[in-house]
């Protein structure tokens, strides 16, 4: 793997994490202290959606790249050993 290829993967991870941060910011804005039951339900539904979206980012965009980099690092170490 070249440095450019690693960098391209770094950017993908960073972009995904940036998006995750934005979703987490939305999570923090949710208001569960509302008085009407319907509003509480809406907040919980939105929380579930956001958590799902975060999980998707991690499982489908971040972890595959990190696993690929981990394999590359392990292989490089084995060669240099």
């Amino acid at each position: 793997m070249t440095k450019a290829e690693v960098q391209e993967r770094m950017l993908r991870v960073l972009q995904a994490m940036k998006e995750e941060e934005e979703l987490k910011a939305q999570l923090l804005q949710l208001d569960f202290g509302v008085s009407r039951a319907g509003e509480v339900d809406r907040a919980y539904r939105r929380q579930k959606e956001l958590l799902g979206a975060i999980e998707l980012i991690r499982s489908e965009r971040v972890l595959p790249v990190l696993s690929e980099l981990a394999a590359f690092v392990a292989e490089a170490k084995a060669k240099s050993a």
Binding site: M1, K3, Q7, M10, M17, E21, L69, F72, A74
Partner: protein, 339 residues
């Protein structure tokens, strides 16, 4: 040098990476081994196998991270322990409030902060009740406005009090010198400019990046403790945050320590492999990962959760600082091995 990372351990490693369980001893050991690969960057403590908490508490500097000093204070204003003291006007005890405040100043940069509600913030357009003349020009307009800038009030007050220069009974500095010292000691940037009072007088002033203004109310060309009602403003800060003089000094020291760490942080960041090649909009994310717990994932994770609890932040689905550091270290290592 011990290398604990391998393909066979990867699934477990990454399986736990984003989980809510505390970071395991093996994971911490793996991170330590990775750190030891970069003694020039992470210091001799990492090489010697001793975790140092310093990098994990590095505040992301303004421009690189989302939590500047200003935001830290804004968050403190909206935090539960602040409200507790705000409604107990005669309580100046230290107790958990000071500890909480200092801790928050340290760990807010891990990303655990509560967003500030707009309603919590006093409008900067409102008149600053402490912008009065303590000396000359009594009765004339004083265009200073430091509303919502408790950190700036405290920093200016401390800098002026450390000055050996005086104007009469007041401690003084030139605008240029005050601006320089605020940036060096606190990382607070300002420009030296002039502002016009309602009477049309051109007064020398410091204008801060958040639009706040501290001007030479006396019109003598120097900025001093008589140009603003610092006594009232500092008493107000002490009351609202529940601090006594010793507590105020500790907060001030924490702010200065933060600025020192910011400088170290930038130096470290710019020396990391691949950092300079990153697009500008990605640098803050990278910096945030670094400030999220590079040295000791256990400490970072714990601090993150404690701070989140203290600030009333819901933690579901949140990734702690330690996880960021694993991803970052892996990327750094891959970059090192790449052709």
């Amino acid at each position: 040098m011990t290398q604990n990372f391998s393909v066979s351990s990867a699934p477990i490693y990454f399986g736990e990476l984003f989980g809510s369980a505390p970071v395991s001893r093996d994971q911490a050991e793996a991170a330590r081994s990775l750190l030891a690969m970069f003694p020039d960057v992470f210091g001799s403590a990492a090489q010697a196998g001793q975790f140092t908490p310093t990098p994990s508490y590095l505040p992301a500097p303004p421009g690189y991270g989302p939590r500047s000093l200003e935001q830290a204070f804004e968050t403190l204003r909206s935090s539960p322990f602040h409200h507790h003291h705000h409604h107990r006007h005669h309580c100046h005890g230290q107790g958990p409030n000071l500890d909480g405040m200092l801790m928050s100043l340290q760990v807010l940069f891990l990303g655990a902060a509560t967003p500030v509600k707009a309603s919590e913030i006093q409008s900067s357009a409102q008149t600053d009740k402490f912008a009065v003349h303590e000396a000359c020009r009594t009765g004339k307009d004083n265009p200073s406005n430091l509303n919502n800038a408790d950190h700036i009030k405290l920093a200016i007050y401390s800098e002026l009090n450390r000055s050996s220069d005086t104007r009469g009974a007041y401690k003084a500095l030139t605008a240029e010198e005050l601006s320089k010292r605020l940036e060096e000691d606190y990382g607070i940037k300002s420009e030296v400019t002039t502002v016009k009072s309602k009477e049309g007088d051109e007064l020398k002033a410091l204008k801060f990046q958040n639009g706040q203004v501290f001007c030479d109310g006396a019109g003598d060309g120097k900025l001093d403790t008589g140009d603003y009602n610092f006594k009232g403003a500092i008493d107000d800060i002490k009351e609202r945050y529940g601090l006594d003089d010793a507590g105020l000094e500790k907060v001030d020291q924490a702010m200065r320590d933060g600025a020192t760490r910011q400088r170290d942080f930038i130096k470290t960041l710019e020396g990391l492999p691949g950092f300079q090649q990153l697009p500008e909009d990605m640098k803050p994310v990278y910096a945030q990962m670094l400030s999220g717990g590079l040295a000791d994932p256990n400490v970072a994770e714990r601090s993150f959760r404690e701070a989140a609890g203290m600030l009333g932040v819901r933690q579901e689905g949140q990734m702690g600082g330690g996880s960021y550091s694993y991803a970052l270290l892996l990327m750094l290592q891959a970059y090192q091995f790449a052709n």
